[in-house]
């Protein structure tokens, strides 16, 4: 199904670029295809609406239709607006000048927080840091064991106080431990939770106020559909996120959730997960995902010439 849409889209854009003259109806038709492509890619429908309206307005409003290459101009507007939405620049972790830098991972169940903890720790270690992973998930069966196994695999120490202590106390204990042992990055793995679970969201805020992390990252599964905005909005409200980690982009999902999450929180996507192994983490490049969402790798290269 996605294949078909992507082909259709390329068709439409092809027509648009091939044409000498483009009228309002052509633009409308092309934008209908763009709208469908975005919805099929799981971009939130409200974000889609706004996006399509913006493009239409610009395309019809500016001198586009009178220009020599109206088709290219419209496509260019689509690309510009999309890249803008994705948040332009690359953004990474901000390290504190008073170590340890504390990084807290949060998110719904099963999104990839524990895996991302190990991936980040491994990356920091490679960059010459001395990281500590902290088992603040006292809920999920074998969560601590999972982090410990990952710790062994990466040869990175794991701080745990079992599953009977409050995660806020565990976090505090971990930061003290890090200070004593000259560890400069502390990564808190927290339990998965629903954004509407008041008790568990309160618990997370307690962790936050106990150690005041320098980075609070929301881990989002790239396959998430329309609900991504509700989740991101709520986590951001409660925790004031500093960024997002998008996982499981090694699948065949378009990953439109990224766009929605970026749009509603305004927070940058910092890393993407591209596999289950601990080294499968990449720094996020907005432009690449932008073309993936529209499923238009070929069209993108077409635009480059516009």
């Amino acid at each position: 199904m996605l294949q078909r849409l992507s082909e259709k889209l390329q068709d439409t854009f092809g027509k648009l670029t091939g044409k000498g003259k483009v009228n309002e109806k052509d633009v409308k038709e092309a934008m209908r295809e763009v709208r469908l492509a975005l919805l099929e890619a799981d971009v939130n429908y409200k974000v889609v609406k706004e996006f399509v309206n913006n493009v239409k307005e610009r395309a019809v409003g500016e001198e586009v239709l009178e220009s020599l290459t109206p088709g290219q101009q419209v496509i260019k507007i689509v690309r510009d607006e999309l890249t803008q939405l994705m948040g332009g620049e690359v953004s990474e972790v901000n390290f504190s000048d008073q170590p340890p830098t504390v990084i807290m991972l949060s998110g719904l169940q099963g999104t990839g927080k524990t895996t991302a903890s190990a991936k980040l720790a491994k990356k920091f270690k490679k960059d010459g840091k001395n990281p500590l992973m902290v088992a603040c998930d006292t809920q999920r069966p074998a969560a601590i064991k999972q982090l410990q196994v990952l710790g062994e695999q990466t040869d990175i120490p794991v701080f745990s106080m079992g599953d009977k202590q409050h995660p806020a106390d565990i976090a505090k204990g971990a930061v003290e431990h890090a200070k004593k042992n000259q560890m400069d990055v502390v990564i808190l793995d927290t339990a998965g939770r629903l954004h509407i679970d008041e008790d568990l969201m309160t618990e997370l805020r307690e962790v936050e106020s106990s150690v005041e992390p320098h980075e609070i990252l929301l881990v989002v599964d790239a396959m998430t559909g329309q609900d991504a905005v509700n989740v991101a909005e709520r986590f951001d409200q409660d925790l004031d996120l500093s960024g997002i980690v998008m996982t499981k982009l090694d699948g065949d999902t378009r990953g439109g959730a990224a766009l929605s999450v970026k749009k509603v929180t305004g927070k940058p996507i910092k890393f993407i997960g591209t596999g289950e192994k601990v080294d499968e983490l990449e720094v996020f490049h907005p432009d690449r995902l932008a073309s993936r969402i529209l499923g238009m790798g070929d069209v993108m290269s077409l635009i480059e010439k516009a």
Partner: protein, 310 residues
């Protein structure tokens, strides 16, 4: 909490949800373009997907025209019937032979809730007085075996396991023998989460399925694909590719205790004719329910926008 976790308090609230959504759509206006557009928005925001949404709306549009429907009550009913028709799919489970437990293979992409759902299913069968054995077929993910063992202990059922890194097909083979020897009614096999586009991992799954077939003489009696309700359009691709490897007999839709509606199962049922069997509504042992299409459709329309609209 979400709609489904409130179900114990009765369905009135969600029922009202559906009716009032449709009424809200219709009050003070005719069944016009705007109505259909808003309906489209509701369905799309529930992850039903463009194609299936358009199909539902088109069918409704036609019936309203043909049957000259004017009142919201009837529109409401017709719409629900359309959607229910889509969800009603033939049961595909196979029946085990004498002396063999019913073998269920649980598959799905990473982190959707396979292991947890197995724990819940085991609990459910045990409550029904059945004997259950679990197979720790995820030998890959860190502490996956420990996780299943904790569930086994919690529910009070045996877990057949090997070491981390062992061949999952060998674990499942042993579990079938153990299931027979122990006179189990159910054998439920956990598998590692895998993305459907990874050829080698899908080959491994095929091998597990083949071993089962060789041992019990038929494909697995049930192949459940576990689907996270927050999943968007990618679910279609998941269902297609998993079905190619081992024909999926039913969906377990998890995490419906959140705000996600899981509307993509309409598309799955409609396009792939896969029935939805169970829903997961929490992380506890008892948080598994039989799928009820009426309830599901009501929930799809209930408080739609509660978290969207400020």
């Amino acid at each position: 909490m979400g709609i489904f976790s409130k179900i114990k308090d009765g369905l009135t609230k969600t029922r009202r949800g559906f009716v009032s959504q449709i009424e809200k759509l219709l009050t003070g206006k005719k069944i016009d373009e705007e109505f259909f557009e808003e309906l489209e928005d509701i369905l799309i925001s529930a992850d039903v997907g463009v194609d299936t949404t358009l199909k539902i709306v088109e069918n409704l549009r036609q019936r309203i025209k043909e049957e000259k429907i004017k009142d919201s009550e009837t529109v409401n009913q017709v719409l629900k019937d359309e959607m229910k028709d889509m969800l009603m799919q033939k049961d595909k489970s196979l029946t085990p032979q004498e002396g063999t437990p019913k073998v269920s293979l649980v598959v799905g992409v990473n982190g959707v809730g396979k292991t947890t759902s197995i724990g819940k299913l085991a609990y459910k069968h045990k409550q029904e007085g059945k004997k259950v054995v679990l197979a720790a077929g995820d030998t890959f993910r860190a502490a996956a075996i420990d996780q299943l063992q904790i569930w086994g202990d919690r529910v009070g059922v045996d877990v057949i396991k090997h070491q981390e890194g062992a061949d999952p097909a060998a674990v499942v083979y042993d579990a079938i023998q153990a299931g027979r020897a122990r006179n189990a009614d159910h054998l439920i096999c956990d598998t590692a989460g895998r993305l459907h586009n990874k050829k080698n991992l899908m080959e491994e799954l095929k091998k597990v399925s083949r071993i089962i077939e060789r041992e019990i003489g038929t494909p697995p009696h049930d192949v459940y694909m576990v689907l996270d309700a927050t999943t968007g359009q990618n679910a279609l691709s998941q269902a297609k590719l998993f079905s190619e490897v081992t024909p999926v007999s039913g969906i377990i839709l998890t995490k419906l205790d959140g705000t996600a509606k899981g509307g993509i199962v309409l598309a799955l049922a409609n396009e792939m004719e896969i029935p939805i069997k169970y829903i997961g509504v929490g992380e506890g042992m008892e948080d598994l329910q039989d799928f009820d299409p009426d309830q599901f459709i009501d929930a799809l329309f209930a408080n739609s926008g509660e978290n969207n609209e400020e």
